[in-house]
């Protein structure tokens, strides 16, 4: 392809425009970087709480107990729900695993607050028990502070994993948290026990 004189058509652009172009390029990169940074910046992880709280309303399972704390309206947590669903679908030992999806209902909010796509998704999942965490009591008991926080306890109540199950905010796909849980569930051998959590905060701003 010959472009004999096409490059000559750029005569109309002055230096100012070139500067604007360069500035724009920088802005794009900045924006792009901010966006990537935001999406890759995890939220607060859970406060380590030790073993499975006794006062939890959640019944500890006889095997592993998987608890995922979700804000009913967090957009990023849809990816977490999706990963949870896939995790549980791929697990071969549904009976060994008791999965809870704790749906936050902050103080002062009615039960309608929990209605939404996340609740619907959770309700459609067979092997997940949805627990409406009224006033975020369970979140506080387990120390979950970010939607998508997922914990895995063994039969003695020891926390085997606590972290997020998405690679970034709202990103569905392979991630370390799901891999760790899968490995834990499958073999009982820990890989990593902590991953960043990407999601909305479960704590109401004081």
């Amino acid at each position: 392809m010959s472009n004999h004189s096409l490059t000559k058509q750029s005569t109309n652009l002055g230096h100012g425009l070139k500067s604007v172009a360069i500035a724009w390029g920088v802005l794009v990169l900045i924006a792009y970087g901010c966006m990537v940074f935001y999406s890759m910046t995890p939220a607060k992880s859970a406060i380590p709480v030790g073993p499975f709280p006794e006062q939890s309303a959640l019944a500890k399972g006889r095997g592993l107990t998987l608890i995922t704390f979700l804000h009913p309206r967090c957009p990023c947590s849809k990816a977490s729900v999706s990963e949870l669903q896939e995790l549980l679908a791929q697990s071969k030992f549904p009976s060994k695993l008791t999965a809870y999806a704790v749906l936050s209902q902050p103080r002062g909010c009615s039960s309608d607050f929990t209605q939404g796509a996340i609740l619907d998704s959770l309700s459609s999942m067979k092997n997940v028990q949805v627990f409406i965490d009224k006033d975020d009591l369970e979140s506080q008991r387990f120390g979950a502070r970010t939607s998508g926080q997922t914990m895995l306890f063994d039969s003695q109540g020891k926390c085997l994993f606590s972290g997020g199950i998405t690679a970034a905010r709202g990103e569905v796909g392979a991630n370390a948290g799901v891999d760790a849980l899968r490995q834990f569930i499958a073999s009982g051998q820990p890989a990593i026990n902590k991953t960043p959590v990407f999601g909305c905060s479960l704590e109401t701003t004081p």
């Binding site: 472009n3 724009w24 924006a31 690679a167 569905v172 701003t205």
Partner: protein
């Protein structure tokens, strides 16, 4: 074009650079413009895509992640910030470039970068969902619209770097995995490059096609420009031509027009309107037909319609209405438009008034000249034109007739041949007087003809002047006054004659009365009575002369009145003969009546008798002592009766015959003439006959004498059968066409008492012979309608048992006449001796025997007297006292004549005639001798053959006998 295949797909051969070579700068320009247009369009599309993507991002963000939460507290999700703020910032620049700098290279490069970053962002937001990677391929495909591989290269590089960097550092963002193999980036980039190859190839093909189109378009443009140049050039030429023709049309001295077939004007020039006296608008709107006068309209319309329906050519000259006479000549031809076949007529109109007027003037002048020439040519006067030098320049036909010289002989010469020697001085003197300007009136002189004769002429000479009044010659008009001189001479002679004729009887009267008055002769003595007789006869002569003169005056004044009444022609002849009997006896001349036919004529009896008397008097005058005058009556045609008076005198020279019937003409008017006369008799006779619608003439020869004749119309019609004479045994049929010879023979035989029927042609002879045969045929062989032998053959064929004797007269020697017809008794060669002919005739038939007359009269005394009278003339009289007896008498014979009284006992005359009208008596002559007044109807009932009606109380015995002899002596036919 060389092609490269990749996976079986043909790609453009990169090494072939011809496809992107512009054939011309214009092609290159078009190509660049096309590429720029494509880039601009693509930039704008991307601009809108950017906007849509940005809005879609906002929408998606609002839908998917509108808030971020902290417990129950909701906050605007950062995505919203990203897409609205960062998104708009990111989108604004490319959009700005797309709409403000469309087509600029930086625009599309920015588009490429932005679009691919958008793809990367989308991939990141979806966590590397494979579906979002397709945005890259779609974006590349869209970017290929630029047909610029550099754009694709930039986009691909952005994708490469994006995949590479994120694949290394945040693989979750690009691939959705925490850990990605570098090959995955290679694999993604490979697919990008894979697509690039096809996109670039397609783009190049598109560019090639674009170049090809540009080349073609350039060629078309060049062609178009060339065509435009040609069109412009031709348009200019057409404009120039149109202007030229417009100028020609507008300035042409002819009116130019274009019309539809029905004459409506489509185009006219100003001259057209001027010629027809119209304004331009009027002519276009209303046409020109209303300027044609009504008397020309049909003429013009017919010619136009003929042209339209015919060959399309119109050529006519006609008059139009105008303040002054105006003629135009118009021509037009049919023009059919090639494009739509519309028919129009294009032509010219020319004002030809001057030419027409000039032609009319020329024609008028020519007509005047022709008339003048005609006057000269037709003039009875000789008109001779001479130059001043006396050279003859014109010589009209009258001059030729008068002088005998032709125009060719005289023109160029002088009139010297015309001048008698004693007139030369006179002519020269007159010429000099005329040339001096003196008017010379008409004068009488003498000129010579070509044959040497001197003629009396009246001459008028005048000077000929030209238009400037200069003398150019002399015209001489000669009028032949010979006749006038002759008339004057004759008048002089007439007056001399009249004087003599008047003085002679006056002298006799005076002398005779003087002798008595002077007592030289005793009163009562024989001498006295003699003198009284002399005076009386002289006075009667004087009366006749005066009457003739007065009649001449009446003729001259056209006041000759006729008292017409119907009368039998025989009566006229009888009266005339009776009136001249005394003179004839005195001159020892025999008067013979030759009544071959009679009929009723409507005449002035006295005047006709005057004519007959005059002719008989002349005949007696010019007959020698002992001669005879034959007064004849014959059927000339089926409507004319011929009266003739023949004598055996000296005859009249031919050169005098033509003047006989002129006034004051005498055969010999000298003082030594043997006979008296005024020279008015024949002129009077001619006038009288012509007044009766008749003809008069004479045929004469020194050998046979003269026969004066006149024809009068017959009253009523002639029965066809009556036209054919009936012959008897005592009749001689004379077949002779020569009137003189026939008259001579006829008279001679009549004198010997023979009955003669004369015909002049074979057809007449055979018509007569078919009904009856004569006792003898005198046959001339040289007849106008054939040879006389044809008559002999006719007789031989038709009547082989009848041998009619024939004597032949011929001028040609014939030896075999006897073989032609056995009864040719004799042959006489002309001129023959009449006495020998008579002798020959006498051998054949004798003279007519005694005639047998049937006399029907009831009065004994009258019957006796009449019988004696009849016997006195040699007739045998058979008497009958009543009608019945008369019929008994005719039972045994057919009389030659019946003398019949009408008032008869037993059967009156009407009944007798009625009985006799059938059979052989139909043509027997009849003399009705009765005291009874007979009407016309009575006369018709009382008729057989030749019939005469005599009044007993008025007819003298002599007249009776004359009538009898007349009826006995000739052919008897019905009337």
């Amino acid at each position: 074009m060389n092609t490269t295949k990749i996976n079986g797909v043909k790609l453009f051969d990169w090494t072939d650079r011809k496809s992107l070579v512009a054939n011309s700068p214009l092609a290159e320009k078009i190509y660049k413009q096309e590429r720029l247009s494509v880039c601009q369009q693509t930039d704008r599309m991307f601009g809108w895509l950017m906007i849509m993507q940005w809005l879609a991002s906002i929408l998606v963000a609002l839908v998917v992640s509108p808030y971020t939460w902290a417990g129950r507290d909701a906050f605007i999700h950062p995505h919203i910030f990203f897409v609205t703020v960062f998104g708009s910032a990111i989108t604004a620049f490319p959009v700005y470039l797309a709409f403000r700098h469309a087509g600029e290279p930086v625009t599309r490069f920015v588009m490429a970068v932005c679009q691919m970053l958008y793809s990367g962002m989308l991939i990141h937001l979806t966590g590397g969902r494979i579906e979002t990677h397709f945005h890259i391929f779609g974006s590349l495909a869209f970017l290929s619209f630029y047909r610029d591989w550099r754009v694709l290269a930039v986009a691909s590089l952005v994708t490469l770097f994006d995949h590479a960097l994120r694949g290394i550092y945040i693989p979750e963002s690009i691939y959705g995995v925490a850990l990605a193999s570098p090959w995955r980036t290679v694999e993604h980039v490979w697919w990008v490059l894979f697509e690039d190859v096809f996109l670039i190839s397609a783009g190049y093909q598109s560019l090639s096609a674009m170049m090809n189109n540009a080349n073609k378009q350039a060629e078309l443009e060049v062609t178009r420009l060339r065509v435009e140049e040609l069109v412009t050039e031709r348009t200019g030429q057409l404009d120039a031509s149109e202007n030229r023709y417009r100028v020609l049309c507008e300035t042409a001295p002819l009116g130019i027009f274009q019309t539809t077939p029905d004459g409506k004007c489509i185009y006219i020039n100003m001259r057209f309107a001027e010629i027809f006296g119209l304004t331009y608008e009027e002519a276009l709107r209303d046409g020109w037909s209303h300027t044609v006068p009504a008397d020309q309209l049909d003429y013009v319309a017919t010619a136009w319609l003929d042209a339209v329906s015919g060959d399309g050519n119109f050529d006519l000259q006609f008059r139009i209405n105008s303040e002054k006479p105006c003629w135009v000549h118009s021509k037009a031809s049919r023009v059919v438009a090639a494009k739509d076949g519309v028919e129009t007529y294009v032509g010219t109109v020319e004002d030809v008034t001057e030419q027409v007027m000039a032609e009319q003037a020329r024609l008028e002048r020519a007509l005047v000249q022709a008339r003048l020439a005609s006057i000269v040519e037709s003039s009875n006067d000789a008109i001779v034109g001479k130059s001043i030098q006396g050279v003859i320049s014109s010589w009209n036909p009258a001059a030729e007739r008068l002088f005998g010289w032709t125009s060719a002989e005289m023109i160029g010469g002088t009139i010297s041949p015309l001048l008698p020697d004693d007139k030369r001085e006179e002519d020269a003197a007159n010429l000099s007087r005329i040339l001096s300007g003196e008017k010379v009136g008409e004068f009488e002189t003498v000129r010579l003809c070509k044959d040497g004769r001197a003629i009396d002429v009246a001459l008028v000479c005048s000077l000929m002047l030209d238009d400037q009044g200069q003398a150019i010659g002399v015209s001489a008009i000669y009028r032949d006054i010979s006749q006038r001189k002759e008339v004057e001479k004759r008048l002089s002679e007439f007056y001399s004659t009249i004087s003599h004729e008047l003085r002679s009887p006056l002298t006799s009267i005076r002398g005779a009365l003087s002798l008595i008055d002077d007592k030289i002769i005793d009163m009562g003595s024989d001498e006295c009575y003699e003198m009284i007789g002399v005076a009386r006869s002289s006075s009667e002569r004087l009366v006749r002369l005066i009457n003739d003169i007065l009649d001449i005056k009446k003729i001259e004044a056209g006041k000759l009145e006729l008292k017409l009444e119907k009368i039998d022609a025989t009566t006229l002849v009888a009266r005339a003969v009776a009136g001249m009997d005394g003179l004839a006896r005195a001159e020892n001349i025999q008067l013979i009546q030759d009544i071959a036919f009679s009929a009723t004529v409507d005449v002035d009896i006295d005047r006709i008798i005057q004519v007959l008397t005059n002719l008989i008097s002349n005949a007696i005058k010019f007959s020698s002592d002992g001669g005879c005058v034959i007064v004849g009556l014959h059927l000339q045609t089926d409507s004319d009766l011929r009266f003739s008076v023949a004598d055996h005198g000296a005859g009249i020279p031919v050169h005098l015959q033509s003047r006989l019937f002129q006034r004051f003409q005498q055969v010999d008017s000298s003082d030594t003439r043997p006979k008296e006369g005024t020279g008015l008799g024949l002129a009077l006779s001619k006038a009288i006959v012509e007044e009766h619608k008749g003809l008069i003439g004479v045929y004469s020869s020194p050998e046979t004498g003269s026969t004066f004749w006149f024809d009068l119309p017959i009253v009523g019609s002639i029965a066809k059968e009556a036209l054919i004479p009936s012959l008897g045994a005592a009749t001689i049929l004379l077949v002779e066409d020569d009137d003189n010879i026939a008259q001579f023979v006829r008279l001679s035989l009549l004198k010997h008492g023979y009955q003669i029927v004369r015909v002049g042609a074979i057809s007449e002879a055979t018509a007569i012979l078919s009904l009856s045969r004569p006792g003898l045929i005198l046959l001339d062989l040289n007849l106008p309608d054939g040879n006389g032998l044809d008559i002999l053959r006719y007789l031989k064929e038709e009547f082989p048992d009848e041998a009619v004797p024939v004597i032949v007269t011929t001028g040609v020697a014939l030896d075999k006449l006897s073989l032609a017809y056995p009864v040719v008794l004799d042959c006489f060669f002309k001129p023959f001796d009449m006495s020998l002919l008579v002798k020959s005739v006498e051998k054949v038939i004798t003279a007519a025997p005694s005639r047998r007359i049937l006399l029907v009269e009831d009065d004994q005394a009258t019957r006796s007297v009449i019988a004696r009278q009849l016997e006195a003339i040699g007739a045998t009289c058979m008497e009958a006292s009543n009608g019945l007896e008369a019929l008994n008498v005719v039972d045994t014979f057919v009389p030659d004549l019946i003398v019949l009284d009408v008032g008869l006992p037993k059967l009156d005359g009407f009944e007798v005639i009625s009985a006799l009208q059938k059979g052989p008596f139909a043509f027997v002559p009849l003399l009705v001798y009765s005291a009874q007044e007979l009407t016309e109807s009575d006369r018709r009932r009382l008729s057989l053959g030749l019939t005469r009606y005599l009044d007993k109380g008025r007819i003298s015995p002599k007249e009776f006998i004359d009538s009898v002899q007349e009826l006995l002596g000739h052919l008897k036919v019905g009337s």
